[in-house]
């Protein structure tokens, strides 16, 4: 795979009461996310890339044009090698799981080794004989993902693969999606309206609203930009912490993690392995601040840091505070009144308080 592969999408399409105008180059190192509220045109863009919808303009994967309306180029969908995984999985009801998985293998020239790798990586062994209709939502998505991978796509397009799943099922699928970039090395463009999904999966994110690109860049940077948070109202202010799993506490059903040299606990997630690195998304409003360590309080997660930045929100009671924890940055949303009473200013030492349950929603909710 070329190291600098990218997807060029420069298309426009007019619908009744809606116009799509995109001019964007998506880098495909690591998963690239297309993020925006429902109805912003994300799915339509994926369908145009896949060739399932027409548009005027250019779609090109690297040097290869799939669509160039001026030059009269339109590569038919089945010849593009784009693998679109639909939100509703769309397994073939007349085939069992094995039949679904094998569907595109011959045309793609996939081998038995490919089969073993995909079936192994997605834990599909136990499902092979099952009827497509007899699977849970999470299992369906795993099969749909495996089916797409076995058709050896030049570009994998994921249309809200977690959108139809409840919180627990999402947690089942996320680790598999995280392997896309590392194990399969398939260039992937991923559509989502969930900031948790984007923060955990994507290296690069493009924010889209009402059919237009609003901003584009590395995920961490984008999620921390306050101007974008107010722009959509969907980017709930928050931060992503890189954590390492230290261990599980069976008795209290907790998982211990290390963040920037300090320990935190969260409700146990058995799917996490000790030593595994996990991104933790934390909403600014779930983070409280104190002048010093507190005793006699239920909150276990008390992290020591320094106030790095204060952004007062004009015309509201609130301020966004960025706290530096030995290099890791965490966002807190508190009242300006509290800041004044505590005397917190930039450079002041501060203790960050996070209820363990705040982590429970990591990757589980849309807002």
């Amino acid at each position: 795979m070329a190291g600098d592969l990218s997807l060029t999408v420069r298309v426009s399409r007019r619908f009744d009461g809606f116009a799509l105008d995109i001019d964007q180059v998506f880098p495909l190192q690591g998963i690239s996310a297309l993020f925006g509220p429902s109805g912003s045109g994300k799915t339509t863009i994926l369908r145009i890339i896949a060739g399932l919808e027409t548009a005027t303009g250019v779609v090109a994967l690297g040097e290869r044009a799939w669509l160039d309306s001026d030059a009269g180029v339109f590569v038919r969908p089945h010849l593009r090698g784009a693998g679109l995984v639909f939100q509703d999985a769309r397994l073939f009801g007349h085939l069992d799981v094995a039949g679904n998985l094998a569907f595109g293998m011959k045309a793609a020239g996939a081998s038995a080794a490919d089969w073993d790798m995909v079936v192994g990586a997605l834990d599909l062994d136990g499902l092979l004989d099952r009827a497509a209709g007899a699977l849970s939502g999470g299992e369906k998505q795993r099969v749909a993902l495996g089916r797409a991978l076995l058709a050896k796509p030049a570009l994998l397009l994921l249309d809200e693969p977690l959108g139809a799943l409840d919180g627990r099922r999402k947690m089942e699928i996320l680790p598999y999606l995280q392997r896309l970039a590392t194990e399969f090395k398939v260039p992937t463009l991923f559509v989502s309206h969930s900031v948790e999904e984007v923060s955990q999966l994507a290296a690069h994110v493009t924010l889209i609203e009402a059919g237009r690109v609003v901003a584009s860049g590395p995920t961490d940077e984008m999620l921390e930009r306050p101007d974008l948070q107010s722009l959509t109202g969907r980017f709930e202010a928050g931060s992503t912490l890189q954590a390492v799993v230290i261990g599980h506490d069976q008795a209290f059903r907790l998982t211990r993690l290390e963040v920037a040299g300090q320990q935190i606990i969260m409700p146990m997630l058995k799917s996490l392995e000790v030593g595994q690195r996990v991104p933790l998304r934390l909403r600014a409003r779930d983070v409280a601040l104190a002048n010093g360590p507190l005793a006699g309080i239920s909150i276990r997660n008390q992290l020591h840091g320094v106030v790095a930045d204060i952004h007062p929100e004009p015309d509201t009671a609130f301020a966004e505070v960025v706290v530096d924890l030995n290099g890791a940055r965490i966002q807190s949303r508190v009242t300006r009144f509290a800041l004044a009473e505590l005397g917190l200013v930039e450079g002041a030492p501060v203790v960050v308080l996070v209820k363990s349950v705040a982590f429970d929603r990591r990757g589980l909710v849309n807002r």
């Binding site: 969908p77 089945h78 509703d88 045309a107």
Partner: protein, 227 residues
């Protein structure tokens, strides 16, 4: 003459006609029904209405126009005589043509309903797995619409077996050529040969009943796979 004293010629001819008609209808009706199921053309209701006409028209009306069209004086009939040397009217081929039109809705409507139930989604999914449109049809859409094909085939066959008015108008009563069961029954009754009319009629009754049992069983056992 069989042991029962019944001429089995019409029985054999009837089933041959129904079989050929059903095959022709499935071949022609499938792409037509696919188009109807997926088109957004404004003319669709008009085409659907024309397709359904044989359901409501008296068979004599249909038979009359077909007779006019297929007569050697009309362009179509003339063309057929020029090409084959035989007339289309009062021939087995003419009966097949008439039966195809007469039974058309019994093929097209179940197939269209099945294709609509399957929808575009599985076909799109197949195209994302490198399947050409033809491969997507044969490997996904057709199997998913399997019950529609069974229903269409069984109903078209049965309806053609039960044809009378159109055959009488277009084919007449030529043994081995156009004399099907329903015509034979009519003739037996006309000649007051009730015994033979009874045997053929009872056979038709049992056959028709069995066919309908098959259709309704299929509806239960093979639901159309939706999404």
């Amino acid at each position: 003459m069989s042991d029962l004293g019944i001429d089995l010629g019409p029985v054999w001819l009837t089933f041959l006609l129904a079989f050929v008609t059903t095959v022709v209808l499935l071949v022609l009706g499938t792409p037509f029904a696919w188009w109807l199921a997926h088109t957004k053309a404004r003319i669709k209701p008009v085409i659907e209405a024309i397709t359904a006409l044989p359901l409501v028209l008296p068979p004599t009306v249909l038979g009359f126009y077909l007779l006019v069209l297929m007569s050697p004086n009309a362009p179509l009939g003339r063309f057929w005589v020029d090409v084959t040397g035989n007339t289309l009217t009062f021939s087995f081929t003419g009966l097949v043509v008439a039966s195809v039109i007469y039974s058309l809705p019994f093929t097209v409507q179940p197939l269209q309903a099945a294709f609509e139930a399957v929808g575009r989604a599985p076909v799109e999914a197949a195209s994302m797995l490198r399947a050409s449109p033809a491969a997507a049809f044969f490997r996904v859409a057709a199997p998913l619409a399997g019950r529609g094909f069974l229903t269409a085939a069984v109903l078209s066959f049965a309806h053609t077996v039960g044809e009378f008015g159109v055959v009488l108008m277009v084919g007449g009563n030529i043994p081995g050529q156009t004399k099907v069961i329903s015509i034979a029954i009519y003739e037996h009754v006309e000649t007051l040969n009730y015994a033979h009319a009874h045997i053929l009629s009872a056979g038709m009754l049992v056959f028709s009943f069995l066919i309908l049992v098959v259709v309704y069983s299929l509806n239960r056992r093979f639901p159309i796979h939706g999404r």
